[in-house]
Amino acid sequence: MDFENKTILNNKNIPLLQVKNLKVYFYLEEGILKAVDDVSFDIGRKKVLGIVGESGCGKSVTAQSILRIVPHPGRTVGGEILLHQNGNLVDLAKLNPSGRDIRAIRGKEITMIFQEPMTSLSPIHTIGNQIMEAVLLHRDMSQSEARELTLEMLYKVGISNPHQRIDEYSYQLSGGLRQRAMIAMALSCNPSLLIADEPTTALDVTVQAQILELMKELQSEFGMSVMYITHNLGVIAEIADDVLVMYLGKAVEYASADEIFHNPLHPYTIGLLKSIPKVGKEARTRLEAIKGTVPLPLDLPRGCGFYQRCREAKKGICNVGDPSLIEVTKGHRVNCFLYK
Amino acid sequence: MKNNKRKISAEEKLYVATQWQLMRRKFKKHKLAILGGTTLVIFYILAIFCGFFSPQDIYKQHSGYIYAPPQRIHFFDEEGFHLRPFVYGLERKIDPITFRKIYIEDKTRKLPIYFFVRGDKYKLWNLYSTDIHFFGVKDGPIFLFGADKLGRDLFSRNLHAARISLSIGLVGVAISFILGCIIGGISGYFGGMADMVTQRVIEFLICIPTIPLWMSLSAALPKKWPPTKIYFGIVIILSIVGWCGLARVVRGKLLELREEDFVMAAKICGATSGRIITRHLLPAFLSYLIVNVTLAIPNMILGETSLSFLGLGMRAPAVSWGVLLQDAQNVRTLALHPWLLIPGLCVIITILAFNFLGDGLRDAADPYKL
């Protein structure tokens, strides 16, 4: 055991977090909803993994399952979530979701920011109170040291007058400032992984640009890994090193950002890229849309989930068997029968 | 395949279901609400046909049965099971120690219960004179809920009391409803000054403790008034406070709905205000109103019962549950004749049933919410 740990410690190439065959199901009255179905990916040290997909593809649930905060009635039913932590290897999927071990990791090793900056902060506690709480919980600090640190963090995330803001409430702050406060809270304990679940979706473009820029800066300063979830391909292109494309709870394509945008393989990825209007190109021409809509991942028929909407679909192959994620070229994995 | 087809048609059925069908589906899942609703239907039927369902005249004094206890309905005797239920006759004795009158079942006198029997004459809804009763015994009176201090049948009196107590809830709510809709509607639709004034008036009225206010107002009703006048007087007094809550609901919902996009869409289409109100606002509104009305009725019933109980509301010879409960005010009498509390039980069951029903309706009111 000791020996194993040492090798991990010595090997810089070992990723920070490895998710293997993760399955999260929601047991609903209407049936079993497979929100995340057999998804695997790695997050490298100091890397940004972008997870992209449309609503209901399971990208948020993936993030929640890493912190083990999947809401009821969802359950992690299979797979491993391996966190390499100072030479220790922890399988988060095996921890008790309300136990001491996972709580020590939440907010310390892995932190999270959310889509709605309005509702993700408590309306009746000051910003400072909420940030200090995390600090006091995970770092050995006194009240005044924690306050010092909080002020410093607020300053770092670009809040201009931290001494005033620290005692204000969330409704006194604009959307952008709230999201900055959330980031300050998430970074206050020096996490090794930051999960950002659509952090800029509710914000205006100019503010989105501010936040993206801030996250890039802080990522290099703090040397952390980031898991960035969004439906906006432009944002992904801006920030991610690797990209995981999800569709109906499954990973359909997993490669470096450059590969995804310049050599997409899966018909869904290709379709997504073609269906977004691009500035400066073929303006006022027709977009190549994907036909149909995303079905509810409830009682799905056999075969590839994208079969009904796929241009390349082959009857008798795609609707019969389940494809699996295979490596086509080095580091470029795709979940499609076309590349068998 | 066949199974699949059936599933699709079931889905299609859901897709073409109207608001009310969806509401019924949701409501049916609510077992307590169904129970409450059924109870109320039974209560109201009993109250509407109280003359028919009560075995005796409510004013007839059976001097041999003063404070007679409730008789039990039997199906078994020493001979075994009988399809026709029966009661045993009551025999009055004097307790040798306390010298109180006590009643014991006389096992030798079996009084079978017959249905549609002839008995005391009564007028159904003051229209049809008849003497047919739903049930009764052929030989003498029957006291399912016991008798009061004058030997009057409490079962029959309770049924007649239900007529006043239950209807006062409905009439009171109807008046509050009309007032609430008009005032709340004006307040919500016009906004501005009208809204401000009504809001302040409602806030003011809510500040006054209801029961003391009701008491003061009903004490002012002239003593000489006949029961019907008193009845409407009390309804109006109850409605003075009752409309506030409904007006608030109407206003709030109206303000909320006015902002909905589909209302704006109808306006942009060129729909008239009348059409917007009747086709879009009212249907969306109606279910909430029904819920709130259902939950407002128990307050009215309670108000009447409290007032009558104190002697400030309905007065004898009129009977309501509150009037009947006046006899239960003395603890010593009550301890000896606990069946005097039965009207109280009726009140509790009614209010409980309305609350269950209202709860179920509230859940069903918005069938589009998941």
């Binding site: 952008g176 205006d204 993206l212 292109a237 209007p277 691009k278 977009l287 | 109808a266 942009i268 060129g270």
Partner: protein, 338 residues
């Protein structure tokens, strides 16, 4: 202002919409939100004018005022009907109702914009019914055509909205807007609530319909790439005012207002190879209740000078058909994207 020989389909002059801010117990008016402030624009027949701006800039209010869905505070809205320009703001209730069939709206939220208590037939048929265009069987036939045109299944006429997905609901909304054969449609963020793949379908549909029915669109969006994709001309709004108005290519190549430049720069481009230094605007959109002095954009503008704090810039035509409100429109050379 009108350059073409023919009259525009719609011309908005000096349009204002002020919402009173009521405070306190007696609901006293303590100020105004200038949601739309002195807006001038025109739209030619068959073209799409894109209106872009960040949240709270008044673009939705502008769209609703133009249709008189809400009453504008001041200004005129001229609409060409049978060759005459009529002022929509001056119409009485009845004539306004009569002109409503020519101007329609598509809403952002596909959920709240459909009455969940009506079937598709009733929803799409409502404009026909209230404008006495068709009833009974004729109405049903027409609704079937419309439903077909927007790409929904004709068999689903009796279904209620809850049976449809967001994209399908948006199609129902589009069918309703088309029902009365309108000339002009305000599309208020019609695709921003939809998934990426469905968004493309909807945009395509809107473009097809424009050709088929010779529609004129006022297309409101916060997404510049969507605006660029669909519009012939672009108007940029900032705190209730239009700060720039130009042809689409011209605007994207050669923006004249610093805010436009920043917006273009902030737009994330779906290509990791194009990562570049952006112009990051400091601060956030000004509060329309209490806007800054002079040019509303000056606190965030990196080119701002003393005059910008004091004087409100004039709305002027700098290049042909390129309007802008900036003191230094001619001096600055700003960066476009194409």
């Amino acid at each position: 202002m009108i350059k073409k020989n023919e009259l525009p389909l719609l011309e908005v002059k000096n349009l204002k919409k002020y919402f009173p801010v009521e405070k306190g117990f007696w609901r006293k008016t303590v100020g105004y939100v200038k949601a739309v402030d002195k807006v001038n624009l025109y739209i030619n027949e068959g073209e799409t004018l894109g209106v872009v701006g960040e949240s709270g800039c008044g673009k939705t209010t502008l769209g609703r005022c133009i249709l008189r869905a809400i009453e504008p505070t001041e200004g005129s809205i001229l609409f060409r009907l049978n060759g005459d320009m009529i002022d929509i703001t001056k119409l009485d209730r009845e004539s306004l109702r009569a002109t409503r069939r020519y101007t329609q709206m598509i809403f952002q939220d596909p959920y709240s914009s459909l009455d969940s208590r009506m079937t598709v037939l009733d929803i799409v048929g409502e404009p026909l019914l209230v404008n006495n265009l068709a009833t009974g069987r004729k109405m049903e036939e027409r609704v079937k055509d419309l439903v077909n045109v927007v790409g929904l299944n004709v068999k689903h006429l009796k279904r209620y909205p809850h049976a449809f997905s967001g994209g399908q609901r948006q199609r129902i909304g589009i069918a309703r807007a088309l029902a009365s054969n309108p000339k002009f449609i305000v599309a208020d963020e019609p695709v921003s609530a939809l998934d990426v793949s469905v968004q493309a379908q909807t945009l395509n549909l809107l473009q097809d319909l424009q050709v088929e029915f010779k529609l004129t669109y006022l297309f409101i969006s916060h997404d510049l790439s969507v605006i660029e994709h669909i519009s012939d001309r672009v108007a940029v709004m900032y705190v209730g005012k239009i700060v720039e108005l130009a042809k689409t290519e011209e605007f994207f190549l050669n923006p004249l207002h610093p805010y436009s430049e920043a917006l273009l720069s902030a737009l994330p481009k779906p290509d990791p190879r194009l990562r570049m230094k952006r112009i990051i605007l400091s601060g956030e959109v000004a509060n329309p209740v209490n806007p800054p002095s002079g040019c509303y954009f000056h606190p965030r503008c990196k080119y701002a000078e003393e005059i910008c704090k004091k004087e409100e810039p004039e709305w002027k035509e700098v290049n042909p058909e390129h309007f802008v409100a900036c003191h230094f429109a001619k001096e600055l050379s700003l960066k476009g994207v194409i």
